[in-house]
């Protein structure tokens, strides 16, 4: 696994997002939904903060990010370009990492316009920048975790729709499990609390930068990408 081989793959995937209309549609949907849900109640709270925006983000990401990643492997398997790609001097790991970085970079591009919210709100009142910066950093980690899960889902099938549904399902579970602890057995509470992506993200978004929260996201990324590579290796 070397940067020399990962970079061309990353570049190709990232560029490929912008030659098809799908990317622009996904970005638009994300910005419309995020803007609508956030600002529809923003003025009612009368608080110069982005907390509600970040509360919303995991749920939005849970179905937007798998839409970004759904074709990354599934489409290659479907069209057959997988064979063309893997007989070039690259390893499966190079491919997985390159695609992951492309999806992450695309998510960052998608998230970038929402920085405007922070700037414009800072004109309205005294904005506490700590949680805002934490929130955006956390959002990148969250996007990374969901993108890795999405790539894993994409590697399971030739069908993009199925990849999207599997990816969304996993991301939704990780997002919502923290809110459903009430229904779960007491003995497992700690475990379910720990795997809740939403909880770790909200910790970071509070501006509390705890290494355990970052470790959670990094573990999810590594595990998902590892599983994706395993599943790709078995695709013959």
């Amino acid at each position: 696994m070397t940067a020399k081989r990962i970079y061309p793959i990353f570049k190709r995937e990232f560029g490929a997002y912008f030659v098809s209309p799908v990317a622009y549609i996904v970005i638009s949907i994300f910005l419309i939904l995020a803007g609508w849900f956030f600002f529809s109640t923003f003025f009612l709270y009368n608080q110069a903060e982005l907390r509600n925006f970040f509360a919303l983000l995991p749920l939005l990401f849970a179905f937007i990010i798998p839409a970004i990643t759904m074709g990354l492997v599934a489409d290659e398997l479907n069209v057959g370009t997988y064979e063309t790609l893997l007989t070039l001097p690259v390893s499966i790991r190079d491919v997985v990492v390159g695609k992951f970085l492309a999806a992450l970079a695309f998510s960052a591009v998608m998230l970038a316009p929402t920085l405007v919210y922070a700037v414009s709100i800072s004109f309205l009142g005294e904005l506490d920048w700590g949680p805002v910066i934490g929130g955006f950093i956390g959002a990148l980690f969250l996007a990374g975790a969901f993108a890795a899960i999405g790539i894993f889902a994409s590697s399971l099938t030739k069908n993009q729709i199925i990849a999207f549904i599997i990816g969304t399902a996993i991301c939704f579970i990780l997002t919502l499990i923290g809110k459903m602890l009430f229904f779960l057995p007491d003995s497992m509470l700690g475990f379910f609390q720990y795997i809740s992506a939403d909880r770790h993200f909200q910790n970071i978004a509070k501006g509390v930068l705890d290494s355990r929260d970052f470790l959670y996201f990094i573990s999810v990324i590594f595990l998902s990408l590892y599983l994706a590579a395993l599943s790709m290796r078995e695709k013959f």
Binding site: K11, Y82, P89
Partner: protein, 311 residues
């Protein structure tokens, strides 16, 4: 240069490649022939490091495909069947990307892509998206993709399938030109194509090699024999076999099913002796009625058909 030993590939119950051993020399143009589903594609996929073999070894130089996959891939240019390429990309962008993955230095990429565009006659379509191209052009883009790093070994899976006769000739010309210096392995089920372009032909059937030899050799083998088919009345099979077998030049006497007192015979004969006068003399001496008597020379096609017949 390439040593394949006892290569086997199974998919569950089905055996796609069954104990194939093959040595391919540097600079050879090798045609892999066989009916559809014979195991050609699987063999090539294993050779290019795409599929892991179930058993046996593939070595390129002194490196094993299982352990040195990456460095072998660097040495091989591969065009999969029907050239699957990224449909949305422009030809130019695609080739530049391949150049990057192939590790060509940024300052040399443009020159290399230009050179290939010229070799593969792609200049007119460089600015087009791949999905807009005709099949012939797509195949040529695939060929440029395979030749990008000027690899020692070029592997092409049915490079001419689905092309029109003009395009087929163009692709063949490219293969021939490349084959002067490089090792080229390509699969096809068109005999004349293999005949026209290859130094060596390997016929594969049901995962096994059934013939292997230089094109000329196989042709000679093919034309080295001919079949004399005869239909007689008033004769019996046993007597015919007994009388025709000793004739000089007759290798084998095959008898067909007798019907209405007729006996049909197939004599397999050496090309350099004409057995017809002798055979006719026997027929005349025995006073049999002669219904049919003709000589069929065997072409590469009949060899192929005989070797790859079902069961």
């Amino acid at each position: 240069m390439i040593h394949i030993e006892h290569l086997t590939k199974r998919y569950g119950e089905t055996v796609a490649v069954n104990d194939v051993s093959l040595d391919i020399e540097k600079g050879e143009v090798l045609g892999l022939l066989g009916p559809n589903g014979a195991g050609k594609t699987t063999t090539l996929r294993i050779l290019t490091g795409y599929l892991p073999p179930t058993g046996g070894t593939v070595r390129v130089g002194d490196r094993d495909i299982r352990t040195d996959t990456l460095s072998i891939k660097e040495q091989i240019g591969y065009l999969p069947e029907s050239a699957p390429l990224y449909q949305n990309m422009l030809v130019y962008d695609y080739l530049m990307d391949v150049a990057a993955i192939r590790g060509i230095a940024p300052e040399n990429r443009m020159a290399r892509v230009r050179e290939l565009a010229k070799t593969c006659a792609l200049e007119k379509v460089m600015h087009k998206a791949i999905h807009e191209l005709s099949k012939g052009y797509r195949q040529r883009v695939g060929l440029a993709h395979a030749m990008m790093s000027d690899p020692e070994i070029l592997v092409l899976d049915e490079p001419t399938s689905g092309l029109d006769p003009n395009q087929i000739i163009e692709i063949r010309e490219i293969i021939k030109a490349v084959g002067k210096e490089k090792t080229v392995i390509f699969s096809t089920h068109i005999l004349s194509e293999a005949e026209a372009t290859c130094d060596r032909i390997v016929i594969i059937h049901k995962g096994k090699i059934v013939a292997d030899g230089a094109t000329e050799e196989l042709k000679q083998q093919a034309s080295g024999r001919y079949t004399l088919s005869i239909k007689l009345t008033g004769a019996d099979t046993a007597a015919c076999t007994a009388l025709f077998s000793p004739v000089i030049g007759v290798n084998e006497v095959k008898t067909g099913a007798p019907e209405d007192g007729q006996v049909s015979l197939m004599l397999s004969c050496d090309a350099d002796t004409d057995v017809r006068p002798d055979v006719y003399r026997i027929i005349r001496d025995n006073d049999w009625g002669l219904l049919e008597f003709h000589r069929e020379s065997r072409s590469l096609e009949t060899v192929f058909r005989e070797l790859t017949k079902e069961n």
